[in-house]
C-alpha cells in the first residue's frame, strides 16, 4: 500500500513538472512582446529586431523552443538569462535561499503562534473565542501589502529598530539576517496566523467534547497533557492541511512582500523576468515553484502519517 501511495505521489509530481512549465511557457509566449522588444524598444530597425530575435532564438517556432528548453531541462540545464547570459541555475541558487527564509519563517510563525492561540482559546469560550473569530476575519481582510507599509512606517521609519528594505546573507551576519526578515515574515504570516488559530480552535473544541478526552480527565491525566498531547494531536490533521495550503498560498504572497521589502528572492525575480520576457528565467522559477509545492505536499503527507498511524497503514 505504501508503495502505491509513493508511486502515486511520484506520478503526480512528474506530471506537475511537465504541465506547469509547459503552461508557463505558453502563457509567456502568448503575452504580447518579447525580450527583443524590451531590449530595443520601438526605435530599432526591422533588420536589427530580426537579428536580435535570431540571436536570442526567438525566431524559432514555439514548439521548437519548448522542446529545446525541455531537452536541456531533462539534462539538468535550465539555460541562460536572455539579458545577462548567466546560467539560470546560478540565479535560482541565489534567489531560493531568500524565498525559503521568508516562506519557512512565515510558516513557523504561522504554526507556532496560530496553534498556540487556537489551542489556548479552545479552552475558553465567550470573549476570547469571539476575539479569535474577529481576528481571523481581520487577518483575511487585511492585505499583506498594506500591513507591510504600516509595519515599515512604525518599526523602520518611526522607531528605526528594523530595516525598511533589503536582505542580509546569514553568512554575513546572522543577527542582521534575522532582523532583515522580521517585518517581511510578520507581513506574510499575519493572515496565516489568524487562519490557523481559528482552525485550531474549532478542531480542538470538537475534540475536547469527545468521550476519550472525558475519560482521560476522569483518570486524572494532567490537563496540559490532555490538551497538548492528546487533543491537539487528534485535532492536528485538518490543521496541517490548512498549513500546507497556507504555505502554497504564501508563495503568491511572497511575490508582493519581496517587492515591498526589496528581498532578492524568487518572487522579485519572477516579476522582473516576466516584465522583460526573460523566458528561461521564468521557466526556471516556475520549475522551482513547482518543486516547492511538491515538497510541501510530501511533507504534509509525511506529517499525516506521523500524526495518524492509520494513514501509515493505508
Amino acid at each position: 500500500m505504501l508503495v502505491r501511495v509513493i508511486a502515486r505521489r511520484v506520478v503526480i509530481s512528474v506530471t506537475l513538472l511537465v504541465i506547469i512549465p509547459a503552461l508557463t511557457f505558453v502563457i509567456e509566449a502568448l503575452t504580447p512582446g518579447n525580450a527583443a522588444d524590451f531590449l530595443l524598444g520601438v526605435s530599432a530597425t526591422p533588420e536589427q529586431r530580426a537579428a536580435l530575435n535570431h540571436q536570442l532564438g526567438l525566431d524559432q517556432p514555439l514548439w521548437v523552443r519548448y522542446l529545446t528548453w525541455m531537452g536541456r531541462f531533462l539534462h539538468g540545464d535550465l539555460g541562460n538569462s536572455l539579458f545577462t547570459g548567466e546560467p539560470v541555475s546560478q540565479g535560482l541558487a541565489s534567489w531560493l535561499p531568500v524565498s525559503l527564509s521568508l516562506l519557512i519563517g512565515a510558516t513557523l510563525v504561522t504554526v507556532v503562534v496560530g496553534v498556540a492561540i487556537g489551542a489556548a482559546s479552545a479552552q475558553h469560550t465567550g470573549g476570547i473565542g469571539r476575539l479569535i473569530d474577529s481576528l481571523s476575519v481581520l487577518g483575511i481582510a487585511v492585505p499583506n501589502f498594506w500591513l507591510a507599509v504600516v509595519l515599515v512606517e512604525v518599526f523602520a521609519v518611526t522607531f528605526r529598530i528594523l530595516p525598511a528594505t533589503g536582505y542580509v546573507q546569514p553568512q554575513d551576519s546572522l543577527i542582521e539576517w534575522g532582523l532583515s526578515l522580521v517585518l517581511p515574515v510578520v507581513a506574510l504570516a499575519f493572515a496565516g496566523v489568524t487562519a490557523v488559530a481559528k482552525q485550531t480552535r474549532d478542531q480542538m473544541k470538537d475534540v475536547l467534547d469527545r468521550d476519550f478526552i472525558r475519560n482521560l480527565r476522569a483518570n486524572g491525566v494532567h490537563e496540559r497533557s490532555v490538551i497538548y498531547r492528546h487533543a491537539l494531536r487528534n485535532a492536528s490533521i485538518p490543521i496541517v492541511t490548512v498549513i500546507g495550503q497556507l504555505f502554497v498560498g504564501a508563495l503568491a504572497g511572497s511575490v508582493v512582500v519581496e517587492n515591498i521589502f526589496v528581498l532578492p528572492g524568487l518572487g522579485s525575480a519572477a516579476v522582473q523576468a516576466a516584465t522583460s520576457h526573460d523566458y528561461p528565467v521564468i521557466q526556471g522559477i516556475s520549475v522551482y515553484f513547482t518543486l516547492i509545492v511538491i515538497a510541501v505536499n510530501v511533507i504534509v503527507d509525511i506529517a499525516y502519517g506521523w500524526l495518524n498511524p492509520q494513514v501509515r497503514s493505508l
Partner: protein, 522 residues
C-alpha cells in the same frame, strides 16, 4: 529618447511604482546643495529598475538606467548640468565639411578598468559595434564610416549633415560610453561586468543582479578629484513607497521622486530637488489619416488641442510639480517660442466648431494607447479621453502593462495616438524622433515635407547659434500651429536626497540627475 528608458522604468514601475516627472508651474524648486564636500565612504541610491543590460550599448538611456553605465563608463564628451560640454575621453572635437565630418582627439594615457589602453581603434570598434547592435543605432543612420585617423584621433564620416554627434557621444546619448577593445570583441562579457574608463567599476562579487549593484572607485580613473565616494551602491527598489521609506529610515541617501510623495519627503526633512525635465502629452502619429481619416484634417487636430484643459489637468496629475504647455521646449531653451504658449487656450466651443467645419459634428473614435512609464500616464490619458468626450471624440484606452507589450501593440498597427513623455534635449533631436520619416514616434510614417525641409537646414547649422535657434523656432511654430501632437504638461524631474548629500542639480537644458556629481557635505 529618454522616453524609452522612462517607459521601461515604469514598465517595471507599473508593477511597482516609479517615476519622476512633475511640473514646474511653481517654477521648479531646486534644493540648494550647501556644505563643503568631504570624502565619502558609501553612497547608496535607489533605482526603480535594474539595468536592461550592463552592456553600455544595450542599456538604453535616461534616468535611472543611464546611472548603471555612467558610473563605470566615462563618455567621450561630458555634458554638464548647464548643457555645456567638457572633455571626457575626448579632449577636443570639431565639425567640418558642413556637419558631414566629425573629428575627435582622444585623451592620452587613459586606461580602462581592465588595464588596457584607450586607443582610437578601441573607439572605432565600439562605434561600429554600436551601429550594428546598439539600442539607439538609429541615431547613427547618417554614419557612413568611422576610422582611426591617428593613434588618438577618430573621424566620423557622415552621409548627410548631423549636428548631434556631441550629444550622441555624451553620457545621455550612450554611444560614447566606450569599453575596452577586448570587451567590444566579446560583448557577452559586458552583460555581467564593466570595462569602462569611468570613475567607478562594478564589483561583481558584491553585486546581486536585479537587487543591488555595487560600484567601487576605479583606481585607474584619470580624474581622481572627480571621485567623491569609495563605493556607490544602486539598490533596486521598484516600489516608490518602499524607496521613500528606505530614504526616511536612512538606508539609502537618494532616489528619484514622485510628485505625490514630495510633500511627505519634505516633511521628513529630505531635500527635494526638482526641475522641469520633459514634456508629456499625446502624439498624433496618424496625421495622414491611415487609421482614422479625420486626423488628417488640421482642424480636427486643432480641435483635439483646444478641448484640453491643460491647467486643470496638469494640476490634477502633477500637482505643483508641473506646468501646462502647448509646445515642445520649455522657456529658456533653444527653439522655445513664447507666442506658442497661447496657441490653444481651453475652448470647447471652438473645438466643436472646428470639428463641425471639418465634417465631424458628431465626433469620431480613436484608439488611444498608454505608454508605460509616462508619469501619471494612465491618469493623463483618462483625463484627456474625458475632455475629448465633451466634443464627441470617443477615445477608449489601451494600457499595456509592460513596455514590450506596448512596443508589440504599436508595431502591430491599429493605434494612431499614444501618450508619451519626452525628456528635453536639443529640439532637432526631438523633431527627428517625432516627425522625421523614420522617427521612432512617427510609427505610421506620416509625411511633413515642410518640416523635413526645416530639419535639413537645422542639421546643417551650428547648433546653439542664433541662426540655428531661429530655424528651430520656425520648426516649433510649424509643429504647434499644425497640431502635430497634443502637448499637455511640462513635467519635472524630482530627486529626493538626504540633507548631507550635495551636488544634486540639473537643468531644463540637460535634465539628467547624475550621481557621479553628488558628494558628502561636511
Amino acid at each position: 529618447m529618454c522616453f524609452r528608458s522612462l517607459a521601461r522604468l515604469s514598465t517595471l514601475s507599473a508593477l511597482a511604482a516609479v517615476v519622476v516627472l512633475t511640473l514646474s508651474a511653481c517654477g521648479g524648486s531646486t534644493a540648494p546643495s550647501s556644505g563643503k564636500a568631504v570624502p565619502g565612504d558609501t553612497l547608496t541610491i535607489a533605482s526603480s529598475t535594474p539595468p536592461i543590460s550592463l552592456n553600455p550599448a544595450l542599456n538604453g538611456n535616461g534616468v535611472p538606467l543611464m546611472w548603471f553605465a555612467a558610473l563605470a563608463y566615462e563618455p567621450l564628451i561630458v555634458r554638464n548640468p548647464d548643457n555645456t560640454t567638457s572633455p571626457g575621453l575626448a579632449t577636443s572635437w570639431k565639425y567640418s565639411d558642413g556637419n558631414k565630418t566629425f573629428t575627435l582627439e582622444l585623451r592620452p594615457g587613459v586606461k580602462f578598468s581592465d588595464g588596457s589602453d584607450l586607443t582610437a581603434e578601441a573607439v572605432v570598434k565600439f562605434i561600429q559595434y554600436y551601429q550594428k547592435s546598439g539600442t539607439f543605432a538609429f541615431n547613427l543612420a547618417s554614419l557612413a564610416s568611422v576610422t582611426a585617423t591617428g593613434p588618438l584621433e577618430v573621424t566620423f564620416h557622415l552621409s548627410s549633415p548631423d549636428p548631434l554627434y556631441p550629444y550622441y557621444l555624451d553620457e545621455e546619448g550612450a554611444v560614447g560610453n566606450i569599453p575596452s577593445e577586448a570587451a567590444t570583441e566579446n560583448p557577452a562579457e559586458m552583460a555581467t561586468a564593466t570595462f569602462g574608463a569611468g570613475p567607478y567599476m562594478l564589483d561583481t562579487a558584491a553585486t546581486v543582479p536585479n537587487s543591488s549593484y555595487v560600484y567601487t572607485a576605479n583606481p585607474t580613473f584619470f580624474d581622481r578629484a572627480h571621485v567623491h565616494w569609495k563605493k556607490i551602491i544602486i539598490k533596486i527598489i521598484a516600489d516608490d513607497n518602499a524607496a521613500l521609506a528606505a530614504l526616511r529610515s536612512g538606508q539609502i541617501q537618494a532616489a528619484l521622486g514622485d510628485a505625490t510623495d514630495a510633500d511627505a519627503a519634505k516633511a521628513a526633512g529630505l531635500n527635494v530637488t526638482s526641475e522641469v525635465g520633459g514634456m508629456t502629452g499625446v502624439v498624433i502619429a496618424d496625421r495622414d489619416g491611415k487609421i482614422v481619416p479625420a486626423l488628417k484634417d488640421l482642424r480636427v487636430r486643432q480641435a483635439l488641442n483646444y478641448a484640453i484643459d491643460r491647467v486643470g489637468l496638469t494640476r490634477a496629475v502633477y500637482r505643483s510639480y508641473g506646468s501646462p504647455t502647448m509646445q515642445y521646449k520649455p522657456a529658456g531653451t533653444d527653439g522655445y517660442v513664447a507666442a506658442m504658449d497661447s496657441a490653444y487656450p481651453y475652448n470647447v466651443t471652438k473645438a466643436k466648431q472646428l470639428l463641425a467645419e471639418a465634417g465631424y459634428p458628431n465626433g469620431f473614435t480613436i484608439q488611444l494607447i498608454v505608454q508605460p512609464g509616462v508619469p501619471g500616464g494612465t491618469l493623463l490619458a483618462q483625463a484627456m479621453s474625458q475632455e475629448w468626450e465633451q466634443i464627441g471624440v470617443h477615445a477608449p484606452l489601451t494600457a499595456p502593462a509592460t513596455f514590450s507589450d506596448y512596443v508589440a501593440k504599436v508595431l502591430g498597427g491599429g493605434y494612431g495616438v499614444t501618450t508619451y513623455v519626452y525628456d528635453y534635449q536639443p529640439f532637432i533631436w526631438e523633431l527627428n524622433e517625432l516627425f522625421s520619416p523614420t522617427g521612432v514616434y512617427n510609427f505610421l510614417g506620416a509625411k511633413t515635407p515642410a518640416l523635413d525641409a526645416l530639419r535639413a537646414q537645422i542639421n546643417s547649422s551650428d547648433l546653439g547659434s542664433p541662426a540655428a535657434n531661429a530655424l528651430e523656432q520656425q520648426a516649433m511654430t510649424y509643429a504647434v500651429q499644425n497640431a502635430l501632437s497634443v502637448p499637455v504638461s511640462a513635467a519635472n524631474f524630482i530627486v529626493f536626497s538626504a540633507k548631507n548629500i550635495g551636488g544634486v542639480a540639473f537643468t531644463p537644458s540637460f535634465p539628467i540627475p547624475d550621481p557621479t556629481q553628488w558628494y558628502l557635505t561636511a
